[in-house]
Subunit: 785 residues, 2 copies
C-alpha cells in the first residue's frame, strides 16, 4: 500500500493516528530510532504484531556464504550481513489474564509520533481487552545522541474504568525468530540463530546477555535496568536463560493509578575485547544513564537536536508536505551518521536489513555532502572509516592485480561482499567517489589536519588505482578506462564511462595538488615526482567521449550507438526492469536506471557548458526510468540548473517522499538514506543552485511556482550561513565567523556578519519541458497541492 495517507502533515512530527497492520513493516522503518551506533526499528514495545523485528549495532555482522553456480578468480566466498541483535525494546504487558495485542480486543485509540525536535518516538494507546478491561498505555522511546551506548523507554499503564492486575515483562531477547526472507535480491539475508550465548544473568530489576556470532566471532552485550514507579504492592522479579533476560513487574492498579517504568538499555560490542570487558562496559554505560535519569536523557536529546536544527534546518513555504519530508529526511540522515564514529553509514542506515546492511558509494556522493554542511564531524568520521579499511582496499587492489586501493563495492567492515562483479567490483567509480567526498569535505571545512591525516592517503591510493586501471592509448595518447561500470546499473562493463572518467580526473588532479601541499607525508607514502607527473598526465589526457553529430555526451563510448529501449512496448508492471528483463538486454540498450551522465554534470559542473548541460539533460531524460532511488534528486538538481524548475520540483517531491510514501515499495527493509539526503541536495544544490568549486561557494537560487519561500542554513569553512529565497530575490546572511566571498548567479560579493545581502533573481526562460519514457514521468507536484 502507499503510505500517502498514513501520516498527518505537520512541521516537526510524523504522526500516525490510525493503525495500519498491513503497513507495519514500513512504519517500523519510518519510526526507527538510531544514533548511528544503535538502531531500533519502530517495532511495538510488546513485540507482536510485527512486520520485521530489528535491533542493529553498526558493523556488527555475521558471515554468510556467497555461492556461485560457476565460480571465478577472486570471487568473495562469504559476505558480511548485518544481523538482528539482542532485542532490548521488548516490554510485554498482561492486563488481567489477557496479553496486550492490538489484534485482539478493541483498539479505541492508537497514535504514534516521531518527534523530530525531541528525538523520541511516542506512542499512546487506549485499549479494551477481550475480557472488557480498558487501559491506557503510553511509551516514549529514544536512542540517545549524547550517550552513544544507551537507549531508553518510558512505559506507562493506567486502568480506565476498573481495577486490573498488570504484569509487565521487560526483556532482552537474542535470536528472535524472523519472518521468511524475500526472494528480492535487494533484501538482506536473514540469518537465524546467529548468536551464541556467553553469559546471561538477571537480578532485581536488571538483566544482561552476552553473545558472540558463530562465524564472524564478534562479541556483543546488552544490559537493561529499570526504574519502576507505581502504587504500593508492585513486585519486581527477574530471570535469565541463554537467550532471554526478563524482568517481571507485577501489581494491581485502580483507575487513577499508574505504573511507570523507565527501562534503560545499554549495548556494546567488539571484535577484540573480552567478555568481562564487554560486561563492564555495558554496566558502566547503564550506570551513567541511570544517573542521568530519563528526564536528563530527554533534556540532553533535545539540546543536541536544538543545536542540529539551528545549523541545518530548512524552511519551505508553499508545500507543507515537503516541509515535513525534508525535516524527516534530515533527521534520519542525522540518525544514520551522528555517532557512527569510524564505522560506515549504510545505505539504509540502521533502519532495516536491506542490502545486508552494506555501505555503498552513495554514502559518499549523496549523504556526506549533506553532513559536511550540517554535522561535519560525522562526515569526517565516515571518511575516517574509509581510511581505516584502506588495508583491505589495498589487498583488494593487489588481488585484482592493480595498484593503490580498490575499495569494496559493498561492505560492512572492508571486505568486498559483492557477489556479481559486473555490477560490483567493476564499478570502480566508488574510489573516485570517496576521493570526491574527501575533496568536498576539505573545501567546505578547510580542515587541513584531516587532509594530512586521512585525505592525502585516500587521494594518493585512489590515484594510484586509476593509473593502473587506465592507460594511454598508443596512437592517440588519450587516457582510457575500459570495461568498467558507472553509476547506471542498466549499463555495465562499458568503455570510458564519462562519469567515471571525469571523477577519476578530479581524483587525480586533487592527488597531485594534495601531494604538493604535503610533500613530507607524500614522500612517506612513497610518492615521487615521477608518480605525481603520471597522475597529472592521466588527468590531462583523460578521454571524455563526445558525440558531435547529436551534440550529446554519451554515457560511455558506445552507449549512443545502442538501440533505444522499447519503452512503448514495456508495460507498467514490468518496472523495475531488472526484475523482468535480463541484465544482458538492459546492458545493450539505451535505457538508464539512474542518473549517471546527469550526475557527472552535477558533480563535475565545470566540465560542461550550459548548452551541453541542457542538451544532455533532455537526451537522458528520455531514457531514464528511475528504477533506483538514487536518481530523482540528481535529476532535480540538474533540472533546476537547466531552468526546468517545475520538473525539478516534481523530482524533489519524489526524492523527499521516497520513504514516507514508499515510492519504491521496499521501505519495509529500511529507509533510502541517499534519497533522503538527496532531498536536501534537490533543495540546496537544486533550487539553491549551490556548488562548491575551488574552495568557493556558488549559488544560483530560483524557485518553482508553488514555493513562496525557501530558507536554509549550512556550515561552510567554520561559518554558519543562511540563505532565504523568494521568487524574486535571495538574501544571504553570515551568522558567525569571518567575511566570505560568495557567488550569486555568477556575481561575486563579500558576505559579512550582520550584513545581509539581497540579490534579485531574474525570471528564467527555459525551453520546453523534456519528456521521460512513457509512463515514467514523475508525479506532477503542482497538481496535487
Amino acid at each position: 500500500m502507499s503510505n500517502d495517507s498514513l501520516f498527518t502533515v505537520e512541521e516537526w512530527s510524523i504522526r500516525e493516528k490510525e493503525l495500519h497492520l498491513d503497513a507495519l513493516a514500513q512504519t517500523e522503518s519510518l519510526f526507527a530510532l538510531s544514533n548511528g551506533h544503535i538502531g531500533l526499528r519502530g517495532n511495538f514495545d510488546e513485540g507482536d504484531p510485527h512486520g520485521l523485528p530489528g535491533t542493529y549495532l553498526n558493523s556488527f555482522y555475521e558471515l554468510r556464504p556467497l555461492p556461485y553456480a560457476e565460480g571465478g578468480y577472486a570471487y568473495p566466498e562469504s559476505g558480511q550481513t548485518v544481523i538482528n541483535v539482542t532485542n532490548g525494546k521488548l516490554i510485554r504487558l498482561l492486563v488481567d489474564d489477557a496479553p496486550f495485542d492490538v489484534r485482539y480486543g478493541t483498539l479505541l485509540e492508537h497514535e504514534r509520533e516521531l518527534d523530530l525536535r525531541n528525538g523520541v518516538l511516542r506512542r499512546s494507546i487506549h485499549w479494551t481487552s477481550p475480557a472488557g478491561r480498558t487501559v491506557k498505555i503510553s511509551s516514549v522511546r529514544m536512542v540517545s545522541f549524547t550517550q552513544r551506548a544507551i537507549a531508553a523507554i518510558c512505559y506507562e499503564v493506567e486502568p480506565v474504568d476498573a481495577p486490573v492486575r498488570i504484569v509487565v515483562q521487560s526483556e532482552l531477547v537474542a535470536n528472535e525468530a524472523l519472518p521468511p526472507q524475500s526472494k528480492d535480491p535487494r533484501v538482506g539475508a536473514a540469518l537465524e540463530s546467529a548468536l551464541e550465548c556467553e553469559e546471561h544473568q538477571a537480578h532485581d530489576a536488571s538483566g544482561m546477555l552476552i553473545h558472540h556470532t558463530r562465524v564472524s566471532g564478534l562479541r556483543m552485550g546488552a544490559a537493561m535496568d529499570h526504574h519502576v514507579e507505581g502504587p504500593p504492592g508492585i513486585t519486581v522479579t527477574s530471570t535469565s536463560s541463554p537467550d532471554v533476560a526478563r524482568v517481571s513487574i507485577i501489581g494491581r492498579l485502580r483507575p487513577g493509578e499508574r505504573l511507570r517504568i523507565v527501562k534503560f538499555i545499554a549495548y556494546g560490542w567488539s571484535s577484540l575485547r573480552s567478555r568481562p570487558a564487554i560486561h563492564d562496559q555495558i554496566i558502566a554505560a547503564l550506570a551513567a544513564a541511570r544517573q542521568t535519569s530519563w528526564e536528563g536523557l530527554l533534556a540532553e536529546q533535545q539540546a543536541y537536536l536544538q543545536d542540529f536544527w539551528a545549523t541545518a534546518d530548512i524552511e519551505l513555504e508553499g508545500d507543507p508536505q515537503i516541509q515535513q519530508a525534508i525535516r524527516f529526511a534530515l533527521f534520519h540522515v542525522l540518525q544514520a551518521g551522528a555517532r557512527a564514529e569510524g564505522r560506515p553509514i549504510a545505505a539504509k542506515g540502521l533502519t532495516g536489513p536491506g542490502y545486508d546492511g552494506h555501505a555503498f558509494w552513495d554514502t559518499e556522493i549523496f549523504v556526506l555532502p549533506v553532513l559536511t554542511h550540517t554535522l561535519p564531524t560525522a562526515a569526517a568520521d565516515a571518511l575516517r572509516w574509509r581510511h581505516l579499511i584502506l588495508d583491505k582496499a589495498r589487498e583488494q587492489a593487489q588481488q585484482l592485480r592493480l595498484y593503490g586501493a580498490a575499495f569494496p563495492w559493498r561492505t560492512i567492515r572492508g571486505a568486498e561482499c559483492s557477489g556479481y562483479w559486473p555490477a560490483g567490483t567493476a564499478a570502480f567509480h566508488i574510489n573516485a567517489d570517496i576521493a570526491y567526498a574527501v575533496t568536498y569535505y576539505l573545501q567546505a571545512t578547510g580542515d587541513m589536519t584531516f587532509e594530512e591525516e586521512v585525505g592525502l592517503e585516500l587521494l594518493v591510493e585512489t590515484a594510484r588505482l586509476w593509473c593502473s586501471l587506465g592507460y594511454h592509448h598508443p596512437t592517440t595518447n588519450q587516457f582510457r578506462i575500459d570495461g568498467v561500470t558507472g553509476p547506471d546499473e542498466y549499463s555495465a562493463i562499458a568503455d570510458n564511462n564519462v562519469y567515471t572518467n571525469l571523477m577519476a580526473q578530479h581524483n587525480l588532479r586533487w592527488a597531485v595538488e594534495a601531494v604538493q601541499r604535503h610533500p613530507e607525508k607524500a614522500q612517506a607514502l612513497g610518492v615521487d615526482s615521477h608518480e605525481a607527473a603520471s597522475w597529472h598526465m592521466a588527468a590531462k589526457h583523460m578521454l571524455i567521449p563526445y558525440n558531435a553529430q547529436l551534440e550529446v555526451t554519451p554515457q560511455d563510448e558506445s552507449f549512443i550507438d545502442y538501440q533505444v529501449w522499447d519503452f512503448t512496448g514495456t508495460l507498467p508492471h514490468q518496472y523495475p526492469l531488472l526484475l523482468n528483463f535480463p541484465y544482458f538486454d538492459l546492458y545493450r540498450k539505451q535505457v538508464v536506471k539512474q542518473a549517471d551522465l546527469i550526475l557527472a554534470m552535477h558533480l563535475r559542473s565545470d566540465a560542461f557548458t550550459p548548452e551541453q548541460k541542457a542538451r544532455n539533460f533532455a537526451y537522458y531524460e528520455s531514457l531514464t526510468v528511475r528504477d533506483s532511488s538514487l536518481s530523482a534528486c540528481t535529476q532535480a538538481v540538474m533540472a533546476a540548473e537547466v531552468g526546468q524548475l517545475e520538473l525539478a520540483y516534481d523530482y524533489l517531491g519524489e526524492a523527499a517522499l521516497v520513504d514516507l510514501h514508499d515510492l519504491h515499495h521496499n521501505v519495509q527493509s529500511g529507509l533510502h538514506m541517499a534519497s533522503l539526503a538527496g532531498a536536501w541536495l534537490a533543495l540546496v544544490a537544486g533550487f539553491g543552485g549551490m556548488r562548491v568549486q575551488n574552495g568557493a561557494l556558488y549559488f544560483s537560487p530560483c524557485l518553482p511556482n508553488a514555493l513562496e519561500r525557501l530558507a536554509f542554513r549550512l556550515l561552510f569553512q567554520d561559518r554558519h550561513i543562511s540563505l532565504e529565497i523568494t521568487p524574486t530575490a535571495a538574501t544571504y546572511r553570515l551568522l558567525d565567523g569571518l567575511p566570505l566571498r560568495v557567488h550569486h548567479h555568477g556575481e561575486t560579493f563579500t558576505l559579512a556578519l550582520d550584513e545581509p545581502a539581497t540579490y534579485p533573481i531574474a525570471p528564467i526562460q527555459a525551453g520546453p519541458r523534456p519528456s521521460q519514457p512513457v509512463g515514467r514521468a514523475p508525479a506532477r507536484r503542482s497538481e496535487r497541492l
Copy 2:
C-alpha cells in the same frame, strides 16, 4: 604428469606397457569405450584402484541447484548434470584369500591396449599375490556399435605355478562413492547417491538393477548375464540388494586350466517408460547379445569399424606420433557420436564428467563437420537433437524477450544450464553455429529431406532470433548486434563481435534461401515475404568493423582500442589466466583465449581477402594464449592458409596430442572432443586446404617439411573421395558415384570414377613466422622428431 611417454607409438593401437598409478584418472579417460549411448571409463575391471569411476548413459542426468550470491531475472535455478550410473563393468577377483589389487603383491606384467580397428580395450596382467600365488588375467572389453544397449567383457584367469581357489564377483553397483570434487569450475559436479532403487534381482548367473534419479525423475535399468567356462566344479551363485547385484563364480584352477567368463551388460533408460517396460527392454537386449555371443559381437564390431575406416581413415608419413593420434582422435569422435541418435554429443563425449556432461557450440563447429564427411548419419542425428529441443529454445527466447529460438549455451536436454550469463547466455553465436552445421551438412550431403524436415525450421528460428537481437542503426542503417559474447572467452558482452556478425549473416542468408526452396513448409512456419526480406536486409547491412589505420579486423568494435595484455609481466604458472586474473581484467584487455576472429576467417573464408587473412592472422597470433583447447586446430587451419606451414604443423601437433599428452592437465575429467575433431580439421582443412562453399569442394593442399605424405578419405554428396598429398603434388580420386567438380588451388576440374587427377603443388613463399605471446608459442614439432 605428462602422458608423453605413457604409450608406445603404433599405427592402430594405444598401448600402455607399464602401470602409472598417478595417471590412472587420465588413462581411464583415454581408454574409455563408448558408442554414443553408453560410455564406460577405462576403470580397472576390479574397481580398485581408480582415478574416477565412470559409467554414463547419454542424456541421463540429475538436477543440481545453481546458486547465486546475487540472483537475477531468468537465471536458471538448477542445472542438468551427467551422473555416474550403475557400474556394470565391475569384476572383482579373489586369488585364494587375497583380493586382486595391483597395489599389493607383485605386478609382473601389465598391459592395456585400445585397439582402434577392433573397437575393444584389452588388458593383460601377470600378478603374484601377497601370499605368493601367481595368476595371469586377461580381459577384453567392448561397448557395441551394433547393439546399442550392450557392453560386454571377456574375462579370463589362469594360475601359473600352483593350484588356486578363485572367486570372481561380477557386479552391477549403483551409487558408487566418488572421489571429492575439484574446485576447478570446469570439472563437473559429482552428485552422490543420485539413484533410488525401484527393483533389484539376481538369479543364476544374471542380475538386474532398476533405479530412478531423485530429482530429475529419470528411470534406468542395468542387467547382466554371464557365460562361464572352466574346469568342472565351478559354482555360480547370485544375490542382490538395492544398489548391488552380484554373481559369484567360484572354483579351483590348476596350472593349465583357465576360467573364462563372458559378461553381457545391457543398459536402458527413459524419462517416460515404466519400470516393467525398462525391465523388459534390457532383458531383451541381453537376450539378443547372448544369442549373438561374444565372438559374434566382436565380429560385428570389427565389421563396423572396417566400414568406418574405409571411409574416414587418414594416413600420414613422416610423423608416426601424429599418425597414431589422428586415428585415436577419429576413433573417439566416432565413439561420441555413432549411436547418439537424437541425443547430444557432449564436449567430453561419454568419457568423463567434465563440464557436467554438457554439449556446447563446439560440437556443431568442430565435431559435426568431421562426422559430416565420415559418418553423416551421426551428424544429422546430432542436429535432429537440436531440432528436438527447439521448443525449449523457443521458450528461452521468449523468456529473454526475443523472437525465434535461443539455444542454451550448455545443456543436456535443452534447458539452459549456464550459471554465468556473460560467458553463457550472452554467447548467442551458438545459434549461428547450429545453423552453420546445418548448412555444412546440407552442402556436403545434398540431403534435401533433412533440410525440409529439420534444417529449414532451425534456420528460420535462428534467423528470427538474429533479427530481434540486432537492429538497424537509425543513421547508418548498419545492422548492429551489441553486447554479446563471441567464441573468445577472454572477451565478453562486446559490440559487433565479427565472428558473431559474420556467422549471423550466413545464418540469415541461408534462411532466406531455404525459405525459397521450401515455400510451403516456410508458410507453415509463419514466414511471409516481409519477414524473409527483413532477414535479407539484416544480412546485407550487417556491420563488420574494420580498423583502417592498422588494416586489421578487430575482434569486436572496441577490441583494438584496449590495452594489450601485459604478457611479459605474466608468469608461466599464471596460465590459464582465468584461474589467476579476474574476468574483469581479461575482458578489458587485448588478450585472446581462443580463436575467434581467426575462426571467423576459417568458417567465413569468403569474407576476407588473402592479404587481410595474413595480416589478421599475424595480429591475433601475438595476442592468443590458447588457454582453451578450442584454438590450436583453428590456428593450424589458418596458419596453413596463410602459408605458415611449419606453424600449422606445430598447432596440428597440439590439437592432435591434447589428450594423449594431457596438454591441458584435465584429461582426467574427460577427453576434448572438439580438439580431437580439430586434429582432423587441421589436416583436412589445414594441409588439405579443404573448404565447402556454395555446395562445392575446394582444396589447397600443401605439406610442412616433415611430412612426406598425407592421404585422407571423405564423403561428399554421396561419394567417397580420396586425396593423397606429397610435397609436390596432390592426387584426387573418386572412389564411387557420379563425377564431381573439384577445385585445386583455384583451378577447377572434374573428378570421375577410376580417373585419378594429379596436380602439382607450387612451393609457398610465406612471410616471417608470426610470433605468439611470450612463452605461449606452440611446441616446435620439427624439433621433437
